[in-house]
């Protein structure tokens, strides 16, 4: 995977969560993931096509997403309910939007599909290209989440 793809997704994630959920995600070192197991309790995944093809997934721990969505809605959410599922889809959509805009500056024109959301312990992420995927780990005070990208030119 082209290293040019890392920063647009990293910056997109920080920008979306900072603006909409008022949290400051801290990124750790990216690494390659060889299996399809999700790193979190709930994931949003979105297909990408155009001058680069593949998919982007966001996978959140329960504690992290409860904090993020509570902040977005301005009310405490205590369980992985339908608001959380909706929000994960929307966050995935927004991050993909910002990342694609950033990639446009690098000469990549990419369209996105409609995001889908999967939840449950040990669920899997079905990337369009199969894998391996690049994981960018993040943490906020309440928990962890990852950006899981599998994209090729």
């Amino acid at each position: 995977m082209n290293v040019k793809f890392i920063n647009p997704f990293l910056d997109g994630t920080v920008s979306v969560l900072k603006t909409m959920a008022f949290v400051e995600p801290r990124a750790a070192k990216p690494y390659l993931k060889m299996d399809s197991l999700a790193k979190g309790d709930i994931s949003g995944i979105i297909g990408l096509t155009g001058s680069a093809t593949g998919s982007l997934a966001l996978s959140f721990s329960e504690a992290a997403i409860l904090k993020i969505v509570s902040n977005m809605l301005g009310e405490p959410i205590k369980s992985l309910n339908s608001d959380i599922k909706d929000a994960v889809g929307e966050i995935t959509n927004m991050i993909s939007g910002v990342a694609r805009k950033n990639l446009e500056a690098e000469g990549f024109y990419i369209q996105a599909a409609i995001p889908t959301v999967v939840s449950g312990k040990d669920h899997s992420i079905a990337h369009v290209l199969g894998g391996p995927s690049l994981i960018i780990p993040f943490e906020i005070d309440e928990g962890t989440f990852v950006v899981d990208v599998c994209l090729t030119e």
Binding site: D83, D86, A87, G89, E90, G97, R100, K101, I114
Partner: protein, 129 residues
């Protein structure tokens, strides 16, 4: 026209996103807010009550934000309703398509309450000149 007197219609298929936008609008003083879950429901709402301002998502099933915009502009009674398109797509082609269809302005997600308010005020000032 102050924020309190402006009736805003939020159109988004995601209930959570409607809540987020409603929450942002309330933070900057808007109180009269109605919601629709897609373009079809939005047209029904527009036909049944006086709406001063439309904030619509771009990507929606049944009728997209762009299709809703075109339908509003083609309806003699609704044609002048201010329309702000909310999108995760700041891609050039989309912006051009929305401008051609008569959008007043667009806002790219993510956005703050202040930026949203600024966009609404600018559109309303332009219309009331």
């Amino acid at each position: 026209m102050s924020e309190k007197n402006i009736k805003v219609l939020i159109v988004d298929d995601f209930a959570t996103m409607r809540k987020v936008v409603r929450n942002l609008l309330k933070q900057v003083g808007y109180e009269d807010i109605v919601e629709a879950e897609d373009g079809v429901m939005a047209l029904k709402a527009l036909k049944s009550q006086k709406i001063d301002f439309i904030i619509s998502d771009w990507n929606m099933p049944n009728m997209t934000g762009l299709e809703l915009l075109k339908a509003v502009r083609a309806d003699a009674e609704l044609a002048n309703t201010p329309f702000l398109m909310v999108t995760a797509e700041a891609l050039q082609d989309n912006v051009v398509a929305a401008v051609k269809a008569g959008v007043n302005n667009y806002i790219v997600k993510p956005f703050t309450a202040e930026v949203l308010n600024e966009k609404i005020k600018k559109i309303m000032e332009g219309i009331n000149k």
